[in-house]
Amino acid sequence: MTQAVAVAWMARLCAVAAAVAALELLWVRRQLADRGVFAWPVLRRELAGVPWPVRWLADHVLSYPGTLGVLALQLAAALALPFVDHPAPAWIVVAAALAIAVRFRGAYNGGSDAMLIIVALAIALARTAPGSALAGLGLAYAAAQLVLSYFVSGVAKLADPAWRTGRALPILVRLPHYHVPRPAAALLSLRALAAVAGWLMLAFECGAPLALTSRTACLALLAFGAGFHVVNAVVFGLNRFLWTWLAAYPALLYWAS
């Protein structure tokens, strides 16, 4: 896979991820208004001690009208990403995604916000200096973060006896805020199946660095990973993780090639 092909695929998938992220927040925009749950007059109180230019900027960009503007800009830039080779849309996605994360005290949708910023940054660097070392570094950064995201997560799970003994998934599918569909919850509560699925997941996550050893290993791991994210999206509703993680896959494939 060439660098140009990798960046083009990252741009297509990042476009979906950034558009979905913007549209989902626009869908629930009432909760971002001043009478909503995530009202800026409440959230801004933590910035009382920061230098006034930062506060001034935040008040203009992250107020309710400002946030709607940021989301509209992110959506427009996302739609332009696959069709415009200029770096501006990618830089706009980086800035908009970061602004939204800052507004929500660090993240709105956990790690998917971080991965969106990482992928958009890699595309922005690659399009700012196509074919240069900087472009390669951007892709390397995205590939490294992708591998780390699986590996760190897998190693952290190993410390928990519930994961090692196969009791983790039955616990997680019962967490009410994930709204796991009943058939999936019943299936993943079967002890033997939960143990096998849990260990498969641990093996995949802990084995992620193997993707860097050969193109074949990379393809196999990414195929498993794609299935893993689809299942997570269907079972746990983690749809944003599907699109943002898939968007980073071409970067790893490029470096593994």
Partner: protein
């Protein structure tokens, strides 16, 4: 406050820990009275049962309501974490020696009424989440139940 700003930039330095501990989560529950008067509050209900959900058929691709519910849960988790950092127990030991007037002066009748708790952004966000799950103009109260089943935070009854 600089720490608060740095915390808001944590998307730039992700920790990549997902489901690393398979344990239950703190749960936000609300109860409310819709009469607007002095009537009793209803039964406690977890907000997960009160809120809407994204369509089961499309949520693998587009799940605005489910992701909003996850953001609510993150706010609850953040409040529990921030209360843990406040070390209120030590302060309450010190308060044992105070009389009622001292309590009133200090505004610390209970950890939940401690000004440091009330001023937390996470506390105010959680209060708004609770209000979003009650009928308009209802008197309400919220609490956070931790996985062992015990109450961790109980709000005052909030006027309509």
């Amino acid at each position: 406050m600089r720490i608060a700003l740095l915390g808001r930039l944590r998307a730039l330095v992700p920790t990549w820990r997902f489901f690393d501990r398979a344990v239950g989560s703190p749960q936000l529950c609300v109860r409310f009275a819709v009469d607007g008067g002095a009537g009793p509050l209803g039964a406690w209900q977890p907000i997960d049962r009160l809120g809407a959900r994204s369509s089961g058929l499309t949520r693998w691709a587009f799940a605005p309501v489910d992701n909003l519910a996850l953001a609510y849960q993150s706010a609850v988790d953040q409040l529990v974490a921030e209360l843990g950092e406040l070390d209120l127990d030590d302060d309450l030991d010190d308060l044992d020696d105070l009389d009622d007037a001292d309590f009133a002066d200090r505004g610390a009748l209970a950890p939940e009424l401690d000004p440091r708790v009330l001023s937390l952004v996470a506390y105010q966000v959680v209060t708004r989440i609770a209000r979003a799950h009650a009928p308009p103009r209802a008197r309400l109260q919220w609490k956070i139940v931790i996985p062992d089943g015990s109450d961790y935070v109980l709000s005052p009854v909030l006027a309509s």
